[in-house]
């Protein structure tokens, strides 16, 4: 399973320009502009309430921006309904895990294949040969994801009973099952312990390098951010603070003040990334 490697890396995949989002009296996002290049891992960081997940929800078209717009491969997202975003090749995970609780892991991943379905309701009712073949094909693709993320022994388990760490991986697997060009990961390491976070770092690397998927990520764990990100955008209270490589952003004085805390924390961080 691989996505388009024929397109040149480095070209711009997603552009957000002058995005802002107002919820009643709250300006959650204010004048945010950035672009994400094909093949890179781009991370949004910032304290809670900085507007990072709101940006994600704007990309997923769960909200409509108050001003500004987003385009993906040149196409304006504002023209699309929320369910059409996946068809473009954008997949996402959710901060608080939005899995299909009363279905098995396998069924969750197969639902991820929805945009690739070749049948309509009529052929489904008769379960024609074409539907059968499409089902087997979908199963093959999904099994590849299962193998990548080591979910084999949870394949038939009902999601509702699974431990938190596994559910996070299933969220990721489901997003990957859609064969996305751009993957939006909302706090992939939240709630995970050190080993699980290390696994996550490896997976994000694999997703970027082996699968050729571009990753746009929101994250709080700075070591994960430095390990996998190509570029970082720091936000605070809905506004952009700094944009650049992980090191550039982490040493930016404004970012340090808003987010990273005292000078000692930064020094210890400097030693690690040196």
């Amino acid at each position: 399973m691989s996505t388009s490697t024929s397109k040149p890396a480095g070209e711009v995949l997603l552009t957000a320009s002058q995005l802002s989002m107002r919820f009643g009296g709250v300006l959650a996002v204010n004048g945010v502009s950035f672009d994400v290049k094909r093949g890179e891992v781009f991370t949004l960081i910032g304290p809670n309430g900085a507007g990072k997940t709101t940006v994600f929800n704007l990309i997923s078209r769960l909200y409509t921006p108050s001003t500004g717009d987003i385009s993906f491969e040149g196409r304006k997202l504002s023209e699309l309904a929320p369910h059409e975003v996946a068809g473009l090749g954008i997949a996402r995970t959710f901060q608080n895990i939005e899995l299909f609780e009363h279905a098995s892991v396998l069924q969750n991943l197969l639902i991820g294949r929805h945009t690739h379905r070749q049948s309509n309701v009529l052929s489904d009712i008769f379960f024609t040969g074409r539907v059968r073949r499409a089902e087997l094909e979908a199963r093959e693709k999904v099994e590849q994801v299962i193998e990548l993320l080591d979910l084999q022994h949870h394949r038939d388990s009902m999601v509702a009973g699974l431990p938190y760490g596994v559910r996070k991986v299933v969220e990721l697997a489901r997003a990957l099952s859609t064969e996305p060009k751009l993957l939006l990961l909302d706090e992939p390491s939240s709630g995970l312990n050190v080993e699980e976070t290390d696994d996550m770092a490896f997976w994000i690397r694999d997703i970027q390098q082996e699968l050729g998927v571009t990753v746009l990520m929101v994250e709080h764990d700075m070591s994960l951010v430095s390990k996998v990100s190509d570029r970082v955008l720091a936000m605070n209270q809905g506004e952009m603070l700094a944009l650049g490589t992980p090191r550039e952003v982490q040493t930016h004085p404004g970012v340090i003040e808003a987010y990273l805390g005292s000078i000692d924390d930064v020094s210890s961080l400097r030693r690690k990334t040196a």
Binding site: F94, L99, I111, D124
Partner: protein, 358 residues
């Protein structure tokens, strides 16, 4: 104990998971085919009703159990199907064509009733469907030119291009065929992308959308299929009773249908059948037992309602998986004996979270 050794993805697609399934269901089919020769005419009529209600139950199970959409006025679809069939058959239209029209018109009404589902959720949707139910019932009563109003109408026997299914046996086999076909329709839907989309909508609309599922389209589809099946069931119901009137399609009937789904076991195909069996046999049981009860209880007009209510409460409290769930537990107990553990089917304890924020 049975272990299913999987060697092939195609195995997971199969409807019958293993040899035992094939054996027992084939046996059941044979028994059903032979029923007219085994049971009395009276009981055959009861079985026919069970089949008819199963068809409706399958539809409602799809809508409420698998897509998670509240339908408190489902009897309306039953009624639309019944009246369409009655009117067309009385005009001389052959049975198959009338049946298709009955199902089709019910499906269309289903899409209309489902329109609120595109905007509102949960109890509000329940209220919308409840309202439609009352309005449709009133239309049946008022549109006297077509429906005969409160006096009701009689229906002629099904005429399949010359072959008249006017005996108890022939009508029974007709219903059996249609029931089996409906079951296959639902089973196929559920193992295909459409069925999965329904389940996705039930569990998390937000992520269903982000997986590319068009909520409006699939919700309407679910309503349409569900209503269509109810319409087909209604058409057969009309033929069986040979007389229909608006009060047969009231809120009480809608609640009966929901009762069927809950007692049978929400979210399972077997549930529709178990529920239908319950719905048809319970009045028989009550009628049989009531002479042994003290007169105060036995002769009370509200006895049936009381029993239904009590059973409903009991199932929601003690057996949320319904009759099918109980059957599964019993079967697992027998299969795993003596290793059955009491906690095997225990549900996750969940604290109540606000539905308004879904």
């Amino acid at each position: 104990m049975r272990f299913i050794f999987k060697t092939d993805y195609a195995q997971d697609l199969r409807l019958a998971k293993h040899g035992g399934h094939v054996f027992w269901y084939s046996l059941l089919l044979v028994a059903l085919l032979a029923a007219p020769f085994i049971v009395s005419e009276y009981w055959l009529a009861q079985v026919t009703f069970i089949l008819i209600y199963s068809i409706v139950g399958l539809g409602l199970m799809l809508l409420a159990g698998f897509t998670g959409l509240f339908s408190l006025g489902h009897a309306a679809f039953l009624g639309v199907g019944a009246y369409t069939q009655a009117v067309l058959t009385n005009m001389g239209v052959p049975f198959p064509i009338a049946l298709v029209c009955a199902g089709g018109l019910s499906a269309a009404v289903g899409i209309v009733v489902g329109l609120p589902a595109l905007r509102v959720k949960g109890i509000y949707l329940g209220m919308a469907t409840l309202s439609f139910g009352f309005i449709v019932e009133e239309i049946f009563a008022r549109w006297e030119k077509v429906t005969g109003g409160n006096a009701g109408i009689h229906i002629k026997a099904p005429d399949l291009f010359g072959f008249k299914a006017d005996t108890g046996n022939s009508f029974y086999w007709l219903c059996l065929v249609i029931t089996v076909a409906s079951t296959f329709v639902i089973m196929n839907l559920l193992r295909s992308p459409t069925g999965r989309a329904f389940v996705a909508i039930r569990d998390s609309e937000v992520s269903a959308q982000s997986m590319g599922i068009n909520l409006a389209r699939y919700k309407s589809m679910s309503f349409a299929i569900s209503a269509g099946l109810a319409g087909i069931g209604g058409a057969l119901y009309a033929h069986k009773l040979q007389f229909i009137s608006p009060d047969q399609f009231s809120i009480l009937q809608s609640i009966d249908l929901l009762l069927m789904v809950v007692v049978g076991g929400v979210g399972s195909i077997h549930g529709a059948f178990f529920g239908a069996i319950f719905l048809i046999t319970m009045p028989q049981l009550i009628a049989g037992v009531k002479d042994y009860l003290p007169a105060i209880i036995g002769q009370a007009p509200g006895l049936q309602g009381f029993v239904y209510g009590a059973v409903l409460i009991a199932f929601v409290l003690f057996e949320p998986l319904g009759l099918y769930g109980r059957w599964l537990k019993v079967r697992t107990y027998l299969q795993l004996f003596p290793f059955y553990r009491a906690g095997m089917f225990k549900r996750q304890k969940s604290f109540q979270k606000s539905d308004r924020l879904k």
